[in-house]
Symmetry: none
Subunit: 406 residues, 2 copies
C-alpha cells in the first residue's frame, strides 16, 4: 500500500503581482522540486469548500480531510484548545482568546497587549474559576494566546464575540446568537467571567510593572470563536489509515487531534516563516514506518500573504521547494501538494481563488503540466475539484475505495 504525504502550504495561492510581471509569488519563485512533482504527477485546481467560497483555515482543513464543514464546524474554539493540548469533552464550549489591552472605558487599545509573549500567569490565576456553576478551564497558548473551555450544564456555543476586532472601539458585550435560554445563559456567564478577570488584573503588579517599562498592560481576555466540541468519526474510522500530523501552529494540530491523528512535534517547527520546513519533511518521511498518511502543514506563505509581502512569500516558497526535494525520490508513495486557500498579498487576507494541486506517484495518470503554479495547474488533467473530492481520489489511487454497486 502506498504511503500518502499531504503537504498543505497554507495560503499558497495568490493573484498577479505587478512587480513580478503579473506572475504570482509561486509562479515567480524558482521551484525545481515542486515542478518535478507536477511533471510526474496529475495536476489541477481545487476549491477547498466551493467555487466563490472564501475558506477559513479551520473549515478548509475539515473539507480537505473529507469532513463537510457545513456539518462538523461549530466554531474555531475547539480546534484552538485541542491544539494546545486541553482535554475537551462533548458539550464543552471552547473559546480562543487574546490577552489584550483596554482603557478605563473598555475601549480596545491593542488586541494583543503589545504582543505579550507569556500568558501563563493569567491562565494559572483563573484556571478552575467557577461562575454560576460553570467551570472555566484556562490554558496558555503561544504568544498572546489562551484557550478557554466553559464546562457545565445548559451551555450553548451560539454566542457572539467579545472582541470587536478593531482598535479604538468599545469591547462587545457577548450575546446569544439565537433565542435559546442556553445561549443567553452562556453569554451572561462569559460576560461575568471576563469582567471579573478585568477587575482582578487591571492593577495587578505584573501589569503595573509592564506599564513602568513602557509596555501595554494585558488586562482583558478577548474571547471569540466559541464552538462546541464536534462529534465526528475519526480519520482512522473513516478511511482505515493511521494518520500523523506535523505542524507548527496550534490550530492545525488541533484539527488533527480532533480527527484522532497523532501529532508529531518537530524541533524548529514554529508555524512562522522561520520554521524549519526541511526538518518537518524529513520527519514526515521517517514517520511512514509507523503511519500510512502524513499531513504536513506549512504556515509561512499565509502569514507573508497577510503581511502583503510578495517578495517574502516568494522566498518562503523557494525554501519550501528545497525542503520537499526528497519527496520526489520516494517509491510506493503518493505525494499531494496543495493549499488550504489563497492568501493574495494584495488582499492581505484569504480569498476564494482556487489553489493549485498536484498528486505525484507511480499509479497516477500524469499529464502535460510542467510546473507547479496557479496558471500551469489550471491546465492539468485532474481538472477542477472541490476539497471534498480529495480524500476519495487519494483512497481510490491507493486501491482502497469501496465500490458503490457490484
Amino acid at each position: 500500500m502506498d504511503k500518502v504525504f499531504l503537504i498543505v502550504i497554507d495560503g499558497l495561492g495568490d493573484r498577479p503581482i505587478p512587480a513580478f510581471g503579473r506572475k504570482t509569488p509561486l509562479e515567480a519563485a524558482k521551484t525545481p522540486n515542486l515542478d518535478k512533482l507536477a511533471r510526474g504527477g496529475i495536476s489541477g485546481v481545487m476549491h477547498t469548500i466551493d467555487i466563490g467560497v472564501r475558506p477559513g483555515s479551520d473549515t478548509a482543513h475539515l473539507a480537505l480531510f473529507g469532513y463537510d464543514p457545513k456539518t462538523y464546524y461549530t466554531g474555531r474554539g475547539p480546534f484552538e484548545v485541542a491544539g494546545i493540548n486541553m482535554e475537551v469533552r462533548p458539550g464543552d464550549v471552547c473559546l480562543r482568546v487574546n490577552m489584550g489591552t483596554v482603557d478605563d472605558n473598555l475601549v480596545v487599545v491593542d488586541r494583543r497587549a503589545g504582543r505579550i509573549d507569556d500568558t501563563n500567569p493569567f491562565a494559572k490565576k483563573f484556571n478552575g474559576t467557577v461562575v454560576d456553576g460553570v467551570k472555566f478551564l484556562v490554558k496558555a497558548g503561544t504568544g498572546h494566546r489562551l484557550g478557554i473551555i466553559m464546562r457545565g450544564k445548559g451551555l450553548s456555543s451560539q454566542i457572539s464575540s467579545a472582541d470587536p476586532k478593531e482598535l479604538g472601539v468599545k469591547l462587545k458585550t457577548v450575546e446569544g446568537l439565537d433565542a435559546s435560554k442556553e445561549a443567553k445563559f452562556t453569554a451572561r456567564v462569559l460576560n461575568k467571567f471576563l469582567l471579573k478577570v478585568y477587575k482582578e488584573i487591571k492593577d495587578w503588579p505584573l501589569n503595573k510593572q509592564r506599564v513602568k517599562v513602557g509596555k501595554l498592560p494585558a488586562n482583558f481576555m478577548l474571547a471569540r470563536g466559541a464552538g462546541v466540541y464536534p462529534e465526528l468519526p475519526s480519520f482512522f474510522d473513516k478511511y482505515g489509515l493511521k494518520a500523523a500530523c506535523i505542524a507548527g501552529a496550534g490550530l492545525y494540530k488541533g484539527v488533527a487531534k480532533i480527527l484522532g491523528m497523532e501529532v508529531i512535534d518537530v524541533p524548529g517547527a514554529t508555524g512562522k516563516p522561520d520554521s524549519d520546513v526541511a526538518a518537518k519533511i524529513k520527519k514526515a518521511i521517517k514517520a511512514t514506518h509507523k503511519f500510512d498518511f502524513i499531513f504536513v502543514h506549512i504556515k509561512g506563505a499565509d502569514t507573508l500573504g497577510e503581511d502583503g509581502n510578495p517578495e517574502g512569500k516568494k522566498a518562503f516558497i523557494e525554501k519550501v521547494d528545497q525542503a520537499v526535494a526528497p519527496l520526489s525520490k520516494l517509491k510506493k508513495s503518493l505525494v499531494v501538494v496543495t493549499a488550504d486557500h489563497s492568501t493574495p498579498c494584495a488582499l492581505k487576507n484569504h480569498s476564494a481563488d482556487d489553489v493549485p494541486i498536484t498528486i505525484f506517484g507511480e499509479s497516477v495518470r500524469d499529464d502535460d503540466v510542467e510546473a507547479f503554479g496557479e496558471r500551469a495547474c489550471a491546465k492539468g488533467r485532474l481538472g477542477r475539484i472541490r476539497g471534498e473530492h480529495l480524500m476519495p481520489i487519494i483512497i481510490d489511487l491507493m486501491g482502497l475505495a469501496q465500490m458503490f454497486g457490484a
Copy 2:
C-alpha cells in the same frame, strides 16, 4: 431524427503501464477507427457516478442511462435475474447465485464448483420450493450461475450475503442488515432454503459422479447481491426513444430489460474477450430500422483488466476498433463511445479514474482531439462530465430536449 449508438466498452480506462512507456492499453493500441470518431466528434472525460467514486457495473449503467443509482439501486440481484429472462414482480427479492463447493464443515473450497458449466439440474430440482410460505424461483444462468427470486409476503432485500468471497473460510450465515422483522424473516428463510439444498444435493448422484471423475462437487448455492425489484420509469417513458440492447453478459441485458429496452441476441456475443464484436455492431446498425437508440455493451476489456493483462486488453481494444469502423460512415447518427468505469490492469479491479468519451455526429461541436484515449480526451471540449449528464446531452443533440423556462 438522428439514431443513437451508445457503445460502452466496459472497464476501458486504465492507468499508465510502465511496459507501454506509461501509455494505457487504449493509448498504446492502434485505433484508427476510434480516433476517426474522436476527430470528427466532441470528446471529454466522464465520472459515471462522481469524482472519486468507484462504480460497480450495475450502478454505472444506471447512471449512464440517467437513473440515479442512489435512488434506484437496491442490489445487483434484480439485474442478474432479469438478464436470464426470469419474470420479476414488484416486491420480489432477487439474488445472484454461484454453485460452489463447500466441505463437510461448510468451509468454502471453490466459489464456482470448478467452473461447472451447467446448473440446469439444480434449478430444475429446486424451482418452486416453498419455505415458510416463501416461494423460491430458481433458474440456471451461464456457467456456474443461477438466479433466485424469493416471492412472498413480508420480505426485505436488506440481507447480507452467504458468500464470504474468500476460500478456506466458513460460509456466512445470512443476516438482516437492518433491525426490521422483514429483514430477519427473509434472512432466516433464505438460510433454511440454502441448507435444505445443501443437504439434498451433497450426496446426489450427479455430485458423486463429478467427484469420481476428479471434479469438485457442486453442493452449495452461494447467494449474494439481494435486491428488491426496482420500480422505475421505463427508458421510453423517460426519453420517448425506442431502445434496444446488444450485449453478451447477463447483467447488462438485465439492466436493459428492467429499463424496458428490447434485448437483441447476437450469435457469437459471449460477453468474453472472444466475443464477436463486429457482429454486434453490424446488428446494431441493422436495428436502427426499428429502434432509435441502440446500446451496445462490450465486456472483454474489463475482464482483461481484472486479469491484470495489459497486452490482452490492448489487443482486445484493437479488435473493438476494427469492429466499430462502419459507425464512422453513418449519416444521421450520433455515435457515443465511452466506458462504464476504468479497470486498471495494475489494480485488477474497478477504479474511480475518469473514462474517455467521444460523441460523433454531424451536429456536434467537434474539437481538436485527434485520438480516442484517456489523455487525449481530457483535453476535449466536452470537458469533465458525470454520467447523469450523458442522456441530457444526447437528447439535446437530437433536438428533443424540453426547454426549462420559455
